[in-house]
Amino acid sequence: MRLFQAFLALIGISILIFVLVRASGDPTMLYRSSMATEEDIARIKVALGLDKPIPEQYWIFVTDLAQGDLGESLIKKRPVTDMIVERLPNTISLALSSFVVSMLLALFLGVLGATRRDTFLDNGVKFLAILGQALPGFWVAIMAILVFAVYWQLLPPAGTGTPAHFVLPVATMAFFLLPGMMRLVRSSMLDVLDSEYIRLARIKGLPERIVIWKHALRNALIAPLTAAGMIFALLITGAVITENVFNWPGIGRLSIEALVSRDFPVVQGITLMVAVVVLLVNLLVDIMYAYIDPRIRYQQM
């Protein structure tokens, strides 16, 4: 059922992009140089399959996609797929490490904030979260470079290679991701702590430690999990920005390089690939959901 819906969504997105591509004007415009003749244009049209009817064009577009063929870059004249595959590991390593760091911190600080409300620690964490939500990520990154790389020269300002190169990008990403995630954990934890079954757990005489980390946390995770899709979207957004600030050779950087040179197939390819990943992530979330919440597990059986 879920798979079916994901499949439908994929078709929807592919149609949307297809329409966007065609609606954006005559694709031959992109190839046309001032010296191209009418015949040249017609030739390009045939080469691109533009002489065929629209549904057939869409079919070709989709079958190409299904075979992993995302077209060819206008500038580099290389298959888009190759370009993405080449850059992907960098993005994954950056996104994954940032995600793990911020998730762990969010859980820890969120729970702490909810259980020690209005203490010095809670207020400190809240203050950082407020700053994190207000200051633009790219600016924070630049200022971090200024302080840590230019003045103190502790860390490299940009690029990849050593573990030290990870520190600033991951920290900026975490600064960007953490507030939202932490707020989610904190507020859902507060909701749960207010519930009757937590009261009952305390009536049983359970120590606070068990009440919170066993009874409350598992229920409190359900709400943030519904937002996992959004967190993933945030992760990609963060990656695009961070990669650009730190000259990190990932797909975020690639997409902006393509934007600058108006290399349409590359941007389109990245968007499509991300769409597929988004759907996969959401499927994964559904599975995890069922693991945490027995109500859903039993419904589907």
Binding site: G12, I130, L135, P136, I142, I236, V240, D263, V267
Partner: protein, 296 residues
């Protein structure tokens, strides 16, 4: 949690008074900042010492006045081609503010209409609209914005369109949730018993009851819109130079960070200040209008 046995009366009184004062501060300060922003944006030509795009190659990369070598002629310094940073920050307010207002107007309207329809009518309409909303929420919007910028070319209206495409879904989801709750409310059932038409129910019974969350959401999204606009402009997918926008100004300074930090620093600070004010004001309004949400 456990109960403390002894009570300190004065301490409790003191803390409630402190709470009241700080609650007023969280309204007055952000409201003042936002009001200032509006005034600055409106009167930018009067306030700015120079035209924002005036190039003066002889006065390149001047530091701000309080740094050695700075001059009062350019209180916040100048950039690579001698444009006055203060003037550009002032004019940048125009972009941020107008984009915010437009986008919030568009997204709030679309979201409210779709949300009420989905929530009240329910069934297949609801299922379809919410699936679209979910996908839109789960999709990294920045890529759509970049895609649009490639297709349409960067520009003011591209930015408005792109952020609107990103921003309507949270409204739709919130309003739909509220409408769904209200649909089950007894007073809506009562209206149906009386024979009120669905349109009248949606307009007269449901809409007035979602205005509070709508206002809260709109205020809170000032921050989102300004940050997104800035991010897009920073990436080159937003407001194109030479029009000053806080985002593209930070970008201008990126590669000069080791020599002229002020080019990036001040516009970023402006963004932070405005977003912070928007968030605080939103929280304050939420506390006032919707005590249910106060806990968080």
């Amino acid at each position: 949690m456990d109960t403390t046995k002894v009570m300190d009366w004065d301490k409790v009184r003191g803390s409630t008074r402190r709470m009241r004062i700080s609650s007023q501060l969280t309204f007055v300060l952000p409201a003042a900042v936002l009001l200032l922003l509006v005034l600055v944006a409106i009167f930018a030509p009067l306030l700015a010492p120079y035209p924002p795009t005036k190039i003066a190659m002889t006065e390149r990369l001047l530091p701000p006045v309080f740094v050695e070598g700075g001059s009062t002629a350019h209180p916040l310094g100048t950039d690579l081609i001698g444009r006055d940073v203060l003037s550009r920050v002032i004019y940048g307010a125009r972009v941020s503010l107008s984009v915010s207002l437009l986008v919030i107007l568009i997204t709030a309207s679309i979201g409210t209409v779709l949300g009420i329809i989905a929530g009240y009518l329910g069934g297949r309409t609801d299922a379809f609209l919410m699936r679209v909303t979910d996908i839109s929420l789960a999709f990294p919007g920045i890529l759509i914005a970049i895609l649009l910028a490639v297709i349409l070319g960067p520009g003011y209206w591209t930015v408005v369109l792109a952020i609107s495409i990103l921003g309507w879904a949270p409204y739709a989801r919130l309003i739909r949730g509220e409408a769904l709750k209200l649909r089950e409310a007894d007073f809506v059932a009562q209206a149906r018993i009386i024979g009120t038409s669905p349109a009248r129910i949606m307009v007269r019974h449901i809409f007035p009851n979602i205005i509070n969350p709508l206002i809260v959401m709109a205020t809170l999204s000032v921050g989102f819109v300004i940050l997104t606009e800035a991010a897009l402009s920073y990436l080159g997918a937003g407001i194109p130079p030479p029009i000053p926008s806080w985002g593209n100004m930070v970008s201008d300074g990126r590669n000069l960070i080791d020599s002229a930090w002020w080019i990036s620093f001040f516009p970023g600070l402006a963004i932070g200040l405005v977003v912070l004010s928007g968030n605080f004001l939103g929280d304050w309004i939420r506390d006032k209008l919707d005590p249910r949400l106060r806990q968080v």
